[in-house]
């Protein structure tokens, strides 16, 4: 009888010990699971690749801005050659290597066929004018085993003279020119100021003009309305020069100027 009682007492102690061991074991597993964090080495490369990708896209805009202002047809190629060297310098020890391919020949950009040469194209002095650049960039990062990460990028600026009207009403004679501007996307450009535009009527720069921007139901989009006062005769032509906030330039030209006395 005494031996049986002794066994019973030991059992409770053993049960308590086993329960403690279970608590410790389960807690250790849960603790390990909750606090698990494995630092992935590739995570730091994601930001580097993204940074190079964004900068390469910006380089296309810089190249196009330079080309549209200086007409240097080699500028984008030269910039990319320099960019390849500079990226290696900027990220030393990572084995970053960049290669590129500039668009050539006729390519479609937002529904418009443009004739590219060395990644650059422009169609100016028409009612609808364009400036565009297009390139494919490939990134290798040897230290992480990344090769051939490709992406295409382009910069684009389109200006459309929707209408040009010479108003002759009593003593008030003025010209209204309605313009829409789009960039890559295509996305309407709505941040332009008067300083971004230049105007010529019949080849002559008027002393003053004003610019208004609003949403037009007639044209189903945002419109820049350029008004030039004191124009006594119907102009033979209107030329609008636009340089956007990125420095990209385009020139639209029309001889289709309507006359109105309303």
């Amino acid at each position: 009888m005494r031996a049986a009682r002794g066994k019973k007492g030991q059992f409770i102690i053993i049960a308590a010990l086993m329960l403690s061991i279970m608590i410790l074991a389960v807690s250790t597993v849960i603790y390990g699971t909750v606090t698990y964090y494995r630092q992935e080495r590739w995570e730091e490369y994601v930001t580097i690749v993204d940074s190079i990708k964004t900068a390469s896209s910006n380089l296309l805009q810089i190249g196009l801005a330079n080309y549209s202002q200086t007409s240097n047809p080699y500028v984008l190629r030269d910039y990319f050659n320099q960019w390849m060297r500079d990226v290696r310098k900027a990220y030393p020890g990572l084995g970053v290597d960049l290669s590129y391919s500039l668009a050539s020949g006729i390519r479609s950009a937002y529904g418009v066929n443009l004739n590219y040469s060395l990644g650059l194209a422009r169609t100016w002095n028409q009612q609808v004018s364009f400036s565009a650049s297009d390139a494919t960039v490939s990134i290798d990062v040897a230290s992480m085993g990344l090769t051939g990460y490709n992406f295409s990028s382009h910069a684009f600026l389109k200006m459309n003279i929707r209408d040009a009207v010479w108003y002759s009403k009593e003593s008030k004679r003025y010209v209204l020119i309605y313009i829409s501007v789009e960039k890559e996307g295509p996305e309407a450009v709505v941040t332009l100021q008067k300083s971004n535009f230049g105007v010529k009527l019949s080849g002559v720069t008027p002393p003053a003009f004003s610019v208004k921007r609003y949403y037009s139901r007639t044209y189903s989009g945002f419109i820049y309305e350029i008004q030039v006062n004191s124009i006594d005769a119907l102009p033979s032509s209107a030329e609008i020069t636009l340089q956007d906030t990125r420095g990209i330039k385009t020139v639209s030209y029309t001889t289709n100027i309507q006359q109105s006395s309303d």
């Binding site: 009682r5 007492g9 409770i12 102690i13 049960a15 308590a16 010990l17 329960l19 403690s20 061991i21 608590i23 410790l24 807690s27 603790y31 606090t35 964090y37 630092q39 995570e43 730091e44 930001t47 580097i48 993204d50 940074s51 190079i52 964004t54 900068a55 390469s56 910006n58 380089l59 810089i62 190249g63 801005a65 330079n66 202002q69 200086t70 910039y79 320099q82 960019w83 500079d86 990226v87 310098k89 900027a90 990220y91 906030t245 990125r246 420095g247």
Partner: protein
Amino acid sequence: MEDLMTKAKQTRNQRSSKGQMRVIEAVMASLIVVSAVAFLYASAATPSSQPQETSELEKIGHNVLHDIDEQGLLARFVYRSEWANLTSALVVSLPTNVYFNLTVYDVNGNPIGHPLMQYGNQQIFDSSKAVASVSYIVPGYQNNYSPRVLVLKLVRG
């Protein structure tokens, strides 16, 4: 009769001792379980989160610079030396408990002269165990190619 009384007394003593033993066993078992839980509680140190913290800060820093760049402001701030605007943009964009120090270099690693662009005391950067560093490259502005490397250091306050 006397025998019966002695037997009853013995039985009472045995029961009393059995009850005491159960109490002692229960106390011992409780002590074992409580000491196990106490051991767990005492040894549950805060996990070492420095790599995770640094990684998170790097992502935050990169995203903020990328957002400012996407708005076309980063290049303007850097190339037109609008350092105060750049500092303000970072202060506004980063979480309030994240402090930063920004330095601008050319591609050869030479620092570009600019005033101190920092939010938070230098002591925070010196004492912090998790300092994240983000490199962001800007190729140029308008029609000028002249790359700059922005190095943004971040700590959590």
